[in-house]
Amino acid sequence: MSAPIISINQVHKAFGGAPVLEGVDLSIVGNSIVGLAGPSGGGKSTLLRCIQGLEKPDSGTILCQGKVGFMFQDFQLFPHMTVLQNLLYAPRLKDKSVAPRQRAEELLTHLKIASKADSFPDRLSGGQKQRVALARCLMTNPNVLLCDEPTSGLDVVTTSDIVSLLQTVRVMGVTMVLASHDLDFLTQISDRIIFLKGGRILLDQDRRQQTDSLDSLHALYRTSLSEEE
């Protein structure tokens, strides 16, 4: 078993006194895709934000090897910049050579969005924005990519596009942690699915070893949804 690229140890986080993460322990090995499932308020997004450093845990430790990229649920592209400018702005602050532009053009071609290089984000569809957001993350050469609800608001065809895109990213050697409500999406792509509810891990299923049915996951989901109602 390879060394973990992300080690999360007894992480607690509360907002305004309401606990969101309650003692989460998790190790994620390199070059894997981990799906975080669970109901709303279960702690998926907060856990991702803690890993990225957008939130500071109240207690516990998170160790992450290498560079982390983050894809936001609502993309957060810079609306006053074109697609190419969105990709190039941050890298160009550090590298004034032609290398970032070459990389950006390669990525846009690879992600089949090169024709939109000069478009502004408000002219793009949800799926196209998702590709641009992914390309912008990849411009920083991350070892770990955290995606918050990557299929939220996307139709079935675009969702299946996202699955193949993320599989392409995996080939690049990027470890991914995906938080999603969409259990079907997660089961299609993840090596491991973690079910979070009430800030705790209720189920941790390694999909590579456990090839049996997804009954336990679906049962958990059904229970969670009925409780939400």
Binding site: L54, V68, G69, F70, Q76, L77, Y89, A90, L93, T140
Partner: protein
């Protein structure tokens, strides 16, 4: 008709002062207002900035102008020329309003824009310069045009400290000619034309920004 044109020329002598006050006041107002808004958002000097905005908005501009021109020499030994005192007073006054307009604009941006920049390791200075403020300025542009129009009309207060602007020129002409209607209408015409010009410039800039 000849009298009308000669009156227009007479009142028009005040245009230079009016425009200098407007340009100088707005430059200081926009720069200082932006600085105050960014500092406040970042939690720097919040109490001072809140107090400044409250005090400036809570007292008449004519009082602020009089304080700077008449009281400052005796108080701190600072004697300013009429135009400089006017530009500083209008600038400081405008800064308080601009800071509040900008605060609203910054707070209306999604927090995710700041977070996206953070995840991309964009340094703070560039975050504000290239990511946040360009978006904020676009959103608050109509309010800023309003602020310029208000400032233009407030410059008429310069006559209190003896500045020869459009309004004062009209008053002088009225006193010389013993007639008020035409000189005041001419002054009103000048202000109205300037407001139309500001609105046109505003619309042109706004349209060019939305053409993408």
């Amino acid at each position: 008709m000849e009298a009308f044109f000669s009156h227009c020329v007479y009142v028009g002598r005040g245009l230079a002062v009016t425009l200098e006050l407007l340009a100088g006041g707005f430059f200081i107002g926009a720069t200082l207002g932006a600085l105050l808004a960014v500092l406040r958002y970042n939690g720097v000097g919040v109490a001072f900035i809140k107090g400044f905005v409250s005090l400036i908005r809570g007292t008449p501009l004519i009082l602020q102008l009089s304080l700077i021109y008449f009281a400052a020499p005796g108080l701190i030994g600072l004697r300013l020329e009429m135009l400089s005192a006017g530009i500083i007073a209008f600038g400081i006054n405008s800064a308080a309003y601009v800071a509040e307009i900008l605060r609203g604009g910054i707070e209306s941006l999604p927090l995710g824009q700041f977070e996206a920049a953070q995840t991309l390791e964009i340094p703070r200075f560039f975050l504000w310069k290239d990511i946040i403020l360009p978006q904020v300025f676009r959103n608050i542009f109509p309010s800023m045009v309003n602020e310029v129009i208000s400032l233009l009309k407030e410059t008429a207060l310069i006559s209190v400290i003896g500045g020869l602007d459009v309004m004062r020129a009209a008053s002088m002409l009225s006193a010389e000619q013993f007639t008020y209607f035409m000189p005041l209408c001419i002054a009103g015409g000048y202000y109205y034309l300037l407001v139309l010009l500001i609105e046109w410039i505003g619309r042109t800039i706004e349209r060019s920004h939305h053409q993408h």
